[in-house]
Point group: C2
Chain length 76, copies 2
DNA sequence: AATTAATGTCAAGTATATATGACAAAAAAT
DNA sequence: ATTTTTTGTCATATATACTTGACATTAATT
């Protein structure tokens, strides 16, 4: 019997961004505008659907006042 | 008179990766293999020619034993 | 000095991050 | 209870991260 192990594509949902956003009372749209991407992009990142660019990560950190390690570091 | 301000595309050359690599006596090829990308990709990142994915940044950090902030945080 | 290894760079292709528009569901405000 | 705002999600399109192969140049080895 052959088994195929499918690569798990799911990236962890990033609840840290959501929390940091909430702390500043910012909507996804507001964050999106502040960093210059579409709302869907922010949503997808929070849903863990993709794998943003370091440049975008930096912009998000700048706006949310957090470090890369805080928002995007490996989950323990 | 009309002036056009061209977007500056240059990303800072990342000498921090080069240094961390040197500290472990790793070649670009060795790092590339360890993180599963091509040698040209590592070279391009060090030359500041693009804008890697957070996933790749994390992999590089893991291999080089550095944090995201140390290798990819905003320059001062 | 000659050979080998490591790096920088180019061109052409593929995979995927991000954009835009649209709509439904959930949450918040009235 | 209704309306409005926010969020989740889909489909199609575009920009760009990353690949592969190739070659020249620089740095190490012998």
């Amino acid at each position: 019997m052959l088994l195929f192990v499918q690569e798990v594509v799911a990236i962890a949902r990033n609840v840290r961004i959501k929390a940091a956003r909430a702390a500043l009372d910012m909507t996804q749209k507001a964050l999106a505008d502040a960093v210059g991407v579409s709302r869907q992009t922010i949503n997808a990142i929070e849903q863990g659907e993709y794998n943003p660019t370091i440049k975008l990560c930096r912009a998000i950190c700048r706006v949310l006042g957090k470090s890369l390690d805080e928002l995007f570091g490996e989950e323990e």
